[in-house]
Amino acid sequence: MSFDHPVYLIPAVFLAIALCALLLAAQRRMTARDLVYSNVAFLTDAVAPRAWIGRAFNASWIVALALGALAVAGPHVRMPVPARDGSVFICIDTSGSMQSTDVSPTRASAAKNAAAAFIDASPSGTRIGIIAFSSGAAVIAPLSADRTAVKAALDDVPNPNGATAIGDALQLAAQNLPASGHRVVILITDGVNNAGADPQEMASYLGTRHIPIYTIGIGTPNGDIIGGEQSTIDEDALRSYADASGGAYARAENASQLRSALARLGGVTMLQNREVAMSLPFAFSAGGLLLLAMITGFATGRVP
């Protein structure tokens, strides 16, 4: 936590201490709720009072005053906040192996459905684009905040065919992403890179530009035989791309896992660390707590 005016903390702390002293003095004065009793020890033993209630009241005053003092100093906190102006490219593998049916109905269809769910779940204002890649890569939908248009573009994703040019897809995404802002690439693939640019280099390049790649490997462990060849996932490579760029890797063996993986990514990719001014939240919390303590205090006899 950092402060705009840390020097303000000093008088604020003194003020809080003075207020605490005033409160304690006020609590000591006689009030209408005072009771003169023959034997205090007997009464306190008899009622077995719940001391935590009094402590909670005191704590609420102290916390409220502390929050107020902090609010005066203009605190800032670096925390993940939803990126409403983020840019996301979803790179969908359309190589021949994506016609495999080990993921129902096919890997390609499951990928498109999951991408549609991701688009629906993304915060408004997030710009989303779609890149399809097989032997080459092409932008199916440019970055747009119009979710309807982007979802409609999923229908234009070509049928599975050809090789797997992961590097080309990453390169295309890097070219089409804005130069600044919160940018993310989501890579949905089932295969081993066998065409185009070196994906590891592209991943490192994206990492240097602070663009994380979230890779999702789709397919069952045994995969499927497509065109006489076993379609498998190079998980190590996919994890490596993610690590090099500061992203993460997830494995989806069915449509449900794929959807949930993308949903998780929706939460993560749309967050960005920012310095957030906390003066107002602190001030409102302090005010609310003070108000609550005063109202309940007046109602229950706890001064003031």
């Binding site: 005072d34 009793y37 205090v40 229950t300």
Partner: protein
């Protein structure tokens, strides 16, 4: 009328053995007898009180219970400490004053009335300058009261502890002892809720949260304390009654099993 009844009750108490076989003829002088009742003979009764005619009619020994016109010593021990000066509408000490007034009022010519204080005995109404101390007052009562005297002790008994039990038993073996227990002014429930500052009448203070649970616990503790005090006094040979803040007389009459007329 009530005062006469109270005196009669005291005299009647004198005539009855406290414990099985422990009775003995009175040593008090008197110049007359007042018949009270005829009852079955109890071992220890003075054989001279056996009514042979009634025995013949009933087939069992019958004893004539009479009141002797004797001089009584009516002593009062009043806790006038600060803890007795609390109350909801008036101090408990005011109610104690009413009870003592009835107590002294039951005296007839020839009876002695006195008030026992810590290391002093004074006439009723005379000031006691010494601060009340239960133990010292009980010791004084034991030292100065003649055998057979009637002692009325009024207090909230917060200072009573086990170390006083021998003293109380000793007093009960010599005197007709009655303890009036000042009922807690908040016996019917603490009328406050929320944060309440409790000031001790004598010392101490506390700030407590009083909620429904605390009020229930308090009511239970007050009742338990009363029951324990009654049990303790009864086991030590004392008669007990409750001193209500609003009525100092009723509790004393109740202690003697009398109804206020």
């Amino acid at each position: 009328m009530a005062s006469i009844t109270l005196r009669d009750a005291l005299l009647r108490g004198k005539r009855r053995p406290r414990r099985f076989g422990a009775g003995s003829p009175t040593t008090y002088r008197g110049d007359g007898y007042e018949f009270v009742e005829l009852r079955a003979y109890v071992p220890g009764d003075d054989v001279r009180r056996i009514d042979w005619a009634a025995t013949a009619r009933a087939g069992d020994l019958q004893t004539r219970v009479v009141l002797e016109d004797v001089a009584l010593t009516l002593a009062a021990l009043i806790d006038d400490s600060a803890s007795m000066r609390v109350g909801r509408k008036r101090p408990l000490l005011d109610a104690a004053g009413e009870a003592v007034e009835l107590w002294y009022g039951s005296a007839r010519g020839g009876d002695r009335v006195l008030r026992v204080g810590p290391e002093c005995v004074v006439r009723p109404g005379a000031p006691i300058d010494v601060r009340f101390d239960l133990e010292r007052t009980l010791l004084t009562a034991r030292a100065v009261l003649p055998r057979g005297a009637a002692l009325l002790a009024i207090s909230d008994w917060f200072d009573l502890s086990e170390r006083h039990h021998d003293l109380l038993a000793s007093l009960a073996s010599r005197c007709d002892c009655t303890a009036l227990v000042a009922r807690d002014p908040w016996y019917d429930g603490l009328g406050l809720s929320g944060f309440v500052r409790i000031r001790g009448a004598e010392s101490g203070h506390a700030r407590l949260w009083i909620g429904a649970r605390e009020r229930r616990a308090f009511a239970a503790a007050v009742r338990a304390r009363e029951a324990e005090l009654h049990s303790t006094f009864a086991s030590l040979g004392w008669r007990t009654g409750m001193l209500e803040e609003h009525d100092g007389v009723a509790g004393l009459l109740d202690a003697f099993g009398l109804n206020f007329i």
